[in-house]
């Protein structure tokens, strides 16, 4: 059972400001969805379930790019920074985190 305060907590963790009138609706929706996905607990998992049983042609694998710069440094920097909502002297403007 999700309580109203669980929704408040989840919204805070998700960094979402949710209007009070939307919270009850969300509680009902999330509860229905979580109720549905709970059927996963009925799935019987074999003790030896392991990724090494995958067929050799299986495409999901832990894929990492080579550990070096993929693009020449600074190539897109100006274009990327031009999208920032607020800039000052080549810095992104953010509010103060700590008070004096």
């Amino acid at each position: 059972m999700l309580e109203r305060q669980d929704i408040d907590h989840l919204a805070a963790l998700s960094r979402l400001d949710i209007a009070p009138e939307e919270r009850d609706r969300l509680r009902v929706d999330l509860e229905a969805i979580l109720g549905y996905v709970s059927e996963l607990s009925r799935a019987v998992l074999p003790a030896d379930l392991a990724a090494d049983k995958r067929p050799a042609d299986f495409p999901h694998r832990n894929a990492l790019r080579p550990d070096r710069e993929p693009l020449p440094g600074g190539e897109n920097t100006a274009a990327i920074l031009s999208q920032a909502p607020a800039m000052k002297d080549n810095y992104l403007v953010v509010k103060k985190i700590l008070d004096n």
């Binding site: 998700s14 979402l16 400001d17 799935a43 274009a79 999208q83």
Partner: protein
Amino acid sequence: MTKIDLDQLTIVSAQQALRRGDWSALELTEAYLTRIADRDPELHAYLEVFADAKTQAQVADRRFKEGTAEPLTGIPLAIKDNILIKDRVASAASKMLENYRAVYDATVIDKLKKQGAVFLGRTNMDEFAMGGSTENSAYGPTKNPVDETRVSGGSSGGSAAAVAAGLALAALGSDTGGSIRQPAAFCGTVGFKPTYGAVSRYGLMSMASSLDQIGPLARTVADAEAVFAAIRGRDPFDATSFDFAVSRSKPKKSIKIGVPESFLGQGGIDKEVLDNFSVTLDKLKEQGVEAVKVDLPSLKYALASYYVLMPAEVSANLARFDGMRYGAKVAGADLLGDYLQTRGQKFGSEVRRRIMLGTYVLSAGYYDAYYRQADRVRELIRLDYATAFGQVDLIATPTTPTPAFALGEKIADPLQMYLEDIFTVPINLAGLPGLSVPSGQGSTGLPLGLQLVAPWREDDFLLRVGKMVEECQA
């Protein structure tokens, strides 16, 4: 100039006409722009029609004159709004990115530009590709061209409607749990989700990275194949991408298609869908295809597994939208307030719901019961398919459990909307290639689709059998 019949045109026939000089790429693009001006105000398949489409077509015409034309030169395409085209707005149909301009080309766009394809515009979608009806677009839904009181499907609904209504010759979509195949089925077009990794996602806005794949929507399987041929292949900017050789070819007589009968008999599937499915299978049998029963016992947990794993990845991927670096910003009282207000106001309700759901299933105390269990069930599903493909060459189901539903019918009940994904989601979980081919109409006169699924990397074989389905419809 020979008249251009947009309702009969395919990429293959347009290419021939362009090479013969029946008409120019400019005339072809103008024909589409006229049709868009006529029909799109009602359908709303496009979020933006590019002002320079004719200029792009003129560049293509020069390539025909110079003799440097490639298979997609001058072909007018529509691009889903979550795929980046340099210097153009890419909004993912969200208020969060309403004014965002792409800094670079997605790899698929780069490849299509090199071919000389013409981009007509960017198509409507569910916000950040989350939904099955385009009703979650921040800019209003796309209507189904076959029946404008019904949804076009989603999330690539704008791309499907554009192709179905002759507002583009083909389109790109993205498919995380059925977002290419389901709208294709609803609108009566072909929709193809390639093997995970067959097409680079560099420049596709990430939704759920272990599931996302770019693919084509087109009028025919041959057209989908032509687009796929242009965009596939390994890309150093997407580490999951890979090259694979053109797959086996099998003589027609010996193709074995598996039908997961117990999965189809679970209830909740429209009778007209099941009837259409068995009629289509019968037609394939007349072509010499053998249909056999297969057992995929874990498939019944696929949708539940998907609706844990997908939101978990969504909650992580969408954390980047913070109002600091790019996209919209709504000022709050302090730094935390900036986050809360920007994300709370600029994300739509379905996106917010999925972020919260993902946050929940990943949180301490729930992780094992939800995320870890879902991930292990995903492994079971993969092994089920691997076993089944030891016995059959392909697996067939309907693409969707219902035909296109009415606008507004499911929007208030997210779980009902999610159940529409029942046949498409397992394929993404397993990373398999899946193809939706039109299979005629149900008793209500709405289009339906047959979904074919092939083993990993058997995309070419899948497309070949897809053409057989088309032939037996004719």
